[in-house]
């Protein structure tokens, strides 16, 4: 049987009489690339915060890497990686220092930090830049580096919140190469994006509308169901009925 790394059952987050997340249920398998889509204000960020152990659900249950979002939040945090469009490395530390710092925070041993950072720097071709301040790197490199750091401690799942926003078309694709490699090594990818071509790179995608999960399937099946050949159109058909808007 396929190992499930995220199991989500009737997960709900209520603010007063507002249901930001309204009884969503889904599973994500090990190594899967899972696209988490939805219009602005559909509830994606709220749901992601719960799954990352940063916020409690009002009702329902979810386990992430086998730990409950209700009472094992600290264990969840140790087993996931997180990266967003907002750059989160320290600009005034060098590449190596950033890696050492984040590796240390996640409890990676000194020996492993040394070995893995050597390999990482080699794989990314950053030998000459390793001791440069991260702030001086071009944006594309920063984003790729941020991703590498987010999976440095070999998490079971990595959450990527619009990782490629504003990045040039070539770098965007190199970034997806890294995602594929991570997935092939068994890391589960949970990713949000506004680029519909990137939705196609996912094994399955879900579309949230007004707090509910309105669709969940492979890109090919969704296109078949909505009788179109573009994901753009699928998204448009699903999200245009949304009553809520905004972040």
């Amino acid at each position: 049987m396929e190992e499930k790394v995220i199991v989500c059952k009737d997960l709900t987050k209520q603010f007063g009489d507002f249901y930001a997340v309204d009884k969503i249920s889904f599973d994500v398998s090990k190594g899967e690339i899972f696209g988490f889509l939805g219009a602005n204000g559909a509830g994606k960020t709220t749901a992601m915060r719960i799954l990352c152990g940063l916020s409690y659900p009002s009702s329902g249950e979810a386990t992430v890497a086998g730990f409950s979002v209700r009472n094992q939040q600290e264990s969840i945090k140790k087993n996931i990686g997180y990266m967003s469009q907002k750059f989160s490395l320290y600009e005034n530390l060098s590449i190596l220092e950033n890696i050492e710092f984040f590796g240390g925070v996640y409890g990676v041993s000194r020996k492993d930090i040394r070995e893995r950072s050597d390999k990482l720097i080699q794989d990314m071709g950053l030998q000459k830049e390793a001791k440069k301040m991260v702030g001086s790197l071009p944006l594309g490199w920063k984003q790729k580096l941020a991703f590498s750091v987010s999976i440095f401690h070999r998490p079971k799942i990595v959450f990527l919140d619009e990782p490629t926003g504003g990045v040039d078309p070539v770098t965007r694709r190199q970034f997806w190469d890294m995602i594929y490699d991570a997935s092939a090594s068994g890391i589960t990818i949970f990713v949000t994006t506004h680029y519909m071509d990137e939705a196609e790179y996912c094994n399955r995608i879900s579309v949230m509308v007004d707090g509910k999960m309105e669709a969940l399937d492979s890109p090919a099946n969704l296109k078949k169901r909505y009788a179109t050949d573009s994901m753009d159109e699928v998204f448009y058909k699903l999200a245009r009925g949304a009553r809520r808007s905004g972040d």
Binding site: G41, Q85, R173, H194, A239, G246
Partner: protein, 342 residues
């Protein structure tokens, strides 16, 4: 008709000349045109906008708006240009109504006097006019910012990444609004990192690392694509991409949604000279036999690598294909210059 916006050889550096943000940029925008600056973050788009709105001085080069110079005549320009920065810059503690009144007063006008121009957009946020701007959703903030930028009936509207981080539905709506504003005679320059939005502009400038790689209509840029382009997929798309990429005959191979796009090397009909920035790419008419030959070739590579569910077809390139091609040539010329400088 004289250009409403004219930019000549603009150069802007930061950090005492260490960072070259805008590299000899030149372009003209005609009156009433919807012009797009297409490029990633850090390409230099915002610096150009800030120079045009007179809030930033260029190192060298000139720019004029409606005939006025951005340095000498900055006061004239500020009355004629509406600017929506990439970052939300209205007063978060003022309501929708108060923000609008504030900007109208600053420009010596009233909301009512300009209602014709903003009505369509204003009506959508009117039900919330007593809500503080800081409490608005992303979509509503965007609409309010656009109203404020239009409140003094500007001749030129400058929009810096108005749709970044906005979902597909809201992005569509926003472009509909721009179309209506254009119909009222306003010249619009808009920047975006989303390549699919390029086709909504009349003319576009593709910009990367501070340099303009091409300025033309989206149609002409696509027609200038010099090579045949193919789309391929199989049951294992990522392996297919790797297989094509590692094949010596492949020129470029990139993932594009459910397909990968491929162009081949060693095509005798293609002019392989590196064009300089701004230069038109040569157009090539391949004989159908060439296409068939190349299709056969691609199918063979896929089959040799034991792929199943293979589908390969010739396709029309899109703006993103052109952008990637120009980027690789731009990098090549940059590297070339660097080596000759040494």
């Amino acid at each position: 008709m004289p250009a409403t916006v004219s930019v000549q050889n603009l150069i802007k550096t930061y950090d005492k000349g260490k960072v070259l943000a805008v590299d000899k940029v030149s372009f003209d925008v005609k009156a009433g045109e919807l012009f797009g600056l297409i490029g990633a973050d850090g390409a230099g788009k915002s610096s150009i906008f800030r120079i045009l709105t007179t809030v930033l001085l260029a190192d060298s080069g000139t720019a004029t708006l409606a005939g006025y110079d951005v340095v000498k005549d900055y006061r004239e320009i500020r009355n004629r240009v509406g600017y929506m920065p990439g970052k939300f810059s209205l007063y978060q503690d003022l309501t929708i109504q108060e923000n609008l009144e504030f900007f109208a007063t600053v420009f010596g006008t009233t909301i009512e006097a300009n209602m014709d121009l903003i009505r369509d957009i204003y009506d959508q946020i009117k039900p919330f006019s007593n809500r503080r701007a800081g409490k608005l959703s992303g979509g509503m903030k965007q609409k309010l910012a656009l109203c404020c930028a239009l409140i003094h009936k500007p001749e030129v509207l400058l929009l810096d990444e108005p749709t970044t981080g906005v979902d597909v539905v809201s992005r569509k709506e926003f472009w509909e609004m721009l179309k209506k504003l254009k119909a009222q005679g306003i010249t619009i320059i808009v920047s975006t990192p989303y390549m699919d939005e390029a086709k909504r502009c009349e003319r576009i400038a593709l910009i990367q690392n501070g340099r303009i790689m091409s300025v033309d209509t989206p149609g002409n840029i696509i027609r200038a694509y010099p090579e045949k382009l193919y789309a391929a997929k199989s049951d294992n798309i990522y392996r297919l991409l790797k297989d094509f990429r590692s094949h010596p005959e492949t020129d470029r191979s990139f993932a594009f949604g459910e397909y990968i796009h491929i162009s081949l090397k060693n095509d005798p009909t293609v002019n392989r000279q590196l064009p300089t920035a701004n230069c038109q790419l040569p157009t090539v008419n391949l004989q159908p036999s060439t296409v068939n030959r190349q299709l056969e070739f691609l199918n063979r590579i896929a089959a040799e690598n034991n792929h199943t569910g293979i589908q390969i077809k010739e396709i029309e390139p899109g703006i993103e294909d052109s952008f990637i091609l120009l980027m690789s040539r731009n990098d090549a010329t940059t590297n070339l210059q660097k080596t000759t400088e040494k």
